[in-house]
């Protein structure tokens, strides 16, 4: 009994140490810090936006700005065809763009980890079958598949999210399977099995915690590509036409003839926003990868 109550405390301390070591190593990577800073700034802006952006500035009927005007007083980034401030639209668009990206990533990671864990644990027919399915999905070109899926499921954020998850889980699955195989070969799994642990317990209690850091790293990179995919699918007209995201802004600009009008002020901000957020997630993901995998140092 006493051993059982003491055990968690004994585990906590090394984990705290490891976390502290990780933070100190991460702080030495300027690119990673820059990426983290960009993401925090965007996150705070997106969360705080309802405080200073209301329906008055977003509703096409209620706004009273000049239509498709270059940057002027009061509209630092110009306006769109309806007379809304592009700056406020970009800030507001961060909310949905980021949340679709993060939800799609969560779905991707859960799906990919489940397949990878099962394929790595049951190494017989089940594992081989799952890996065959993964290989088939890798062979499929992702954008046509995502387009087809969301066209059939109908316009909207939900179908875009599902389409992204279905087309991007394979990378996580392969990664998790490889790591699962490595972990399952270690003696403590044999010990757990000898003590009578079942398949589920080995996978959840012993393998998953060891695979988790890797899953988190790969998910930072997944968010980056999920946000890009969301923008692309929305641009192609598969998003919810009433919501404001960076992709839908660019779609509205393109469909509304902002290109022929030479309205650069309407085109540049959403794209820069996508670029910054995607770059931020990529930089953070790479920095974490470098810290966790010392073999990569110097590359």
């Amino acid at each position: 009994m006493t051993a059982a109550t003491h055990a968690p405390a004994a585990v906590e301390v090394p984990r705290h140490h490891a976390f502290g070591r990780f933070c100190r190593a991460y702080a030495k990577r300027p690119a990673g810090l820059a990426g983290l800073g960009l993401l925090v700034a965007f996150g705070v802006l997106a969360l705080a936006s309802p405080l200073f952006i209301g329906d008055d500035q977003l509703n096409v009927i209620k706004v009273d700005g000049p239509q498709l005007s270059p940057p002027v007083d009061g509209y630092p980034l110009g306006t769109d065809q309806a007379g809304r401030s592009v700056l406020l639209l970009v800030i507001w668009g961060a909310r949905e763009s980021l949340s679709i990206g993060i939800i799609a990533t969560a779905l991707t990671v859960v799906l990919g980890s489940a397949v990878g864990l099962l394929a790595g644990h049951y190494q017989g027919r089940v594992g081989q079958g799952l890996m065959h399915v993964t290989d088939w999905f890798i062979a499929l070109p992702s954008l046509p598949l995502a387009i087809s899926l969301s066209a059939v499921l109908g316009q909207g954020a939900a179908s875009i999210t599902i389409a992204i998850a279905v087309t991007s889980w394979t990378a996580t699955a392969r990664l998790v399977r490889a790591q699962t195989l490595a972990v399952e070969a270690r003696p403590f799994i044999e010990r757990a099995r000898a003590l009578g642990a079942g398949n589920t317990q080995i996978m959840i209690r012993h393998v998953l915690p060891n695979v988790m850091p890797l899953i988190l790293v790969s998910s930072t990179l997944t968010v980056a590509s999920a946000i890009l995919s969301e923008a692309t699918l929305t641009f192609l007209g598969l998003g919810d036409p009433t919501s404001v995201t960076w992709g839908s802004m660019l779609q509205a600009a393109f469909a509304g003839g902002a290109v022929t009008a030479g309205a650069w002020w309407y085109l540049i901000p959403p794209g820069i926003a996508i670029l910054i957020v995607v770059l931020g997630f990529t930089l953070v993901g790479r920095a974490v990868e470098h810290v966790l995998n010392p073999r990569m140092v110097g590359r």
Binding site: W136, I138, A139, L140, P141, S142, L143, P144, L145, I147, S148, L149, A151, V152, L153, A224, L228, A231, T232, F235, L236, G237, L238, L250, A253, F254, V259, T260, A261, G262, A263, W264, L267, I268, P270, G271, I274, L275, V278, L279, T282, G298, R299
Partner: protein
């Protein structure tokens, strides 16, 4: 992979055995490609035939239709048949090259695809060649001197360009070079593949198409080459520590010769596989770039189909795109065998 390792002992026995090893290898790859294509058909069937709730309603949307007419359309489309029978019909038609009938163009999907194949191949081919050449060159240079200023500039430029949405870059280039912003005059045509007011043959036409090709191609190259840089750079770095490079240096070869004659051929091997595996990205690029520049290819056809949405047409382009990626992967496996210096030396 298993056939590659199996080729090992055969190499020792002699040339004859080695050559015959290629056909079984090709056979196994061909079989795998066929299985992949069959799976693509299954996925296409599930998405386009099983998932839509009621295709007849979509088809007759906005038109007054009686119940009897609805039932007749259902029979025509074979919607009341058992699923396996519909699947077999679908597979049979696809193998015969019949991809259905477009709702929007009132034309068979196969003829639409055939019309649009040429422009897409022109755009994707040019972009692929340019981006692979640029990416490999930059990757070799920055991998060989990794950590140098050149490497850092090349790596951060490719990382940034990878983060840019393709369609956005296309629109920005369009505004800058075609519409013209500020002091920049309109330099290049805005969209399409040729100017209808010019003659459609001879040198004028070739120059006209080339002028239309510049911006779409540039957009695709800028977005796609970054991956090739990363792939090539990593495999050069992986080769750097190898003993055979030390040997090459020890026998007095110049740094340049060590790189070109020894490091690059070996580093190319894993890169080729990766390059062909990334060709799906080129397909994605083609769809968005063609949508932005109204380039009359398969990607633009997909974009047009999405507006309705024209499901038979979407299904057709999905199958064609998937089949082309499968063929590319098969090609990669064959090219890999010929590029491998250990096989070529025989």
């Amino acid at each position: 992979m298993s056939s590659l390792t199996a080729a090992g002992p055969a190499k020792v026995k002699g040339q004859g055995v080695k050559r015959s090893g290629f056909l079984p290898y090709l056979g196994s790859k061909l079989a795998a490609a066929l299985v992949s294509f069959f799976v693509t058909l299954v996925i296409g069937f599930v998405i386009f035939s099983l998932m839509p709730a009621d295709p007849v309603r979509t088809l007759t949307r906005g038109r007054p239709t009686s119940e009897a007419q609805l039932a007749q359309i259902r029979v025509q489309l074979g919607l009341d048949d058992p699923i396996w029978e519909r699947f077999l019909t679908f597979v049979g038609n696809t193998l015969k090259g019949e991809l259905g009938y477009s709702w929007q163009f009132q034309q068979s999907v196969s003829s639409l695809v055939a019309d649009r194949l040429g422009p897409t191949l022109l755009l994707m081919g040019t972009a692929a060649v340019l981006s692979i050449a640029l990416g490999l060159w930059l990757g070799i240079r920055s991998g060989w001197r990794h950590g140098s200023l050149f490497d850092r500039i090349a790596s951060s430029a490719s990382l940034t360009l990878w983060s840019v949405p393709t369609f956005w870059l296309g629109m920005i280039l369009l505004v800058t070079f075609s519409v013209g912003v500020g002091p920049i005059p309109s330099l290049l045509p805005a969209g399409g593949m040729s100017d209808p007011s010019l003659p459609q043959e001879g040198w004028t036409h070739v120059v006209d198409v080339a002028r239309h090709l510049v911006l779409p191609c540039l957009t695709m190259v800028l977005v796609v080459f970054a991956q090739y840089v990363t792939v090539m750079r990593t495999s050069i770095i992986d080769e750097m520590g190898s003993p055979y490079l030390l040997t090459a240096r020890a026998k007095g070869l110049t740094d340049d010769a060590v790189r070109r004659r020894h490091a690059v051929p070996n580093a190319l091997l894993p890169s080729v596989t990766m390059i062909f595996m990334h060709l799906g990205v080129l397909v994605s690029g083609a769809i968005t770039v063609e949508a932005v520049y109204s380039w009359p290819g398969l990607g633009y056809l997909t974009y047009e189909a999405l507006k309705i949405p024209d499901l038979p047409l979407l299904q057709g382009t999905f199958i064609v795109f998937s089949a082309s990626v499968i063929i590319m992967n098969l090609l990669a496996d064959v090219v890999y065998r010929f590029l491998d210096p250990r096989v070529r030396a025989q």
